[in-house]
């Protein structure tokens, strides 16, 4: 069994790029952008406060 946590290589960069995309998505409906901004802020909070993480797991059946 191998478990690797890698939020720094997954969540953090994804949040950064999503924030950039959202800032430039001026053609998307305003309601969707507002909802996305709220959700993004929440995920960012959960990540910055080290509440969520990302893992890779490999296991072999005996």
């Amino acid at each position: 069994m191998q478990v690797t946590t890698c939020g720094d290589r997954v969540i953090a960069p994804a949040l950064r790029l999503t924030a950039q995309r959202l800032a430039s998505a001026t053609s998307a409906p305003a309601g969707q952008r507002a909802a996305a901004r709220l959700l993004l802020r929440q995920v960012d909070l959960l990540w910055r406060r080290r509440i969520i993480d990302y893992l890779l797991l490999r296991a072999v059946r005996p």
Binding site: I11, P13, L17, A30, L46, Y54, L55, R61
Partner: protein
């Protein structure tokens, strides 16, 4: 099925169903989420990709598709080459040609509980020579000890039970077969009001049960314990 054209201020029927499911979850809340997101979400990191990517840089648009591909390739290369492989929760099948290219499976089976995703991904499934199977990750429609590798990319937190999914993996894998997944875990429970609100909102928006919030240690323990 891609979302219908916007009905009102950009909100579609799929968005309305998703919103309703946040109040009262139906039998397949993940389906409502991904129907709402559709196959062409304006926030997708790379077209057609639903995973968060495995990055080498800080998160730039120029690396996005490579990061999404790197996630899938990293997980796939942990499986035996040339075997019978199960891809559980395969999204829009964007990953299946890459899995096929990475490990040249003798047979690749893509299991997804969300039939519209299987339909939306049919060209990519064909490209990967993958067999689409509508099915539940916790009740895999697969015979015992017939699979050499199971891959699941950023989907397990949507399954009704990780333990039940791991038990099914144990059942369908041959001795020596491998499981390779990526997943989202919690490190600690939210404490402050802001953290609690954020956590509960994310659970509802993404159609998740509270029981699916597990630490890496709990997830590993579940994977290590057969039924």
């Amino acid at each position: 099925m891609t979302p219908a054209p916007g009905l009102m201020m950009g909100w579609t029927i799929q968005h309305a169903r998703h919103a309703a499911a946040m109040v009262k979850q139906d039998g397949n809340p993940a389906a409502r989420v991904y129907e709402s997101i559709g196959s062409d979400c304006f926030l997708a990191l790379a077209p057609g990709w639903l995973n968060l990517g495995l990055w080498e840089g800080p998160g730039s648009g120029s690396e996005a598709e490579a990061a999404c591909r790197r996630m899938v390739r990293t997980l796939a290369l942990a499986l035996p080459a040339g075997g019978t492989i199960l891809d559980v929760g395969n999204g829009l099948a964007t990953q299946d040609p890459l899995i096929a290219e990475a490990i040249r499976p003798r047979r690749l089976v893509a299991v997804n509980i969300t039939e519209w995703q299987l339909a939306a991904g049919r060209d990519r499934l064909r490209e990967a020579a993958a067999v689409p199977v509508a099915g539940d990750a916790v009740r895999l429609p697969i015979a015992d000890s017939t699979i050499d590798g199971v891959i699941s990319v950023e989907a397990a937190f949507h399954f009704r039970s990780r333990q039940a999914f791991f038990d099914e993996c144990y059942r369908v894998l041959r001795p020596g077969g491998a499981l390779s997944i990526s997943d989202i875990a919690i490190r600690r429970w939210p404490v402050s009001p802001g953290e609690v609100l954020a956590g509960l909102t994310q659970l509802r928006v993404f159609g998740l049960q509270r029981a699916m919030a597990m630490t890496p240690g709990q997830i590993a323990a579940a994977a290590a314990r057969p039924a």
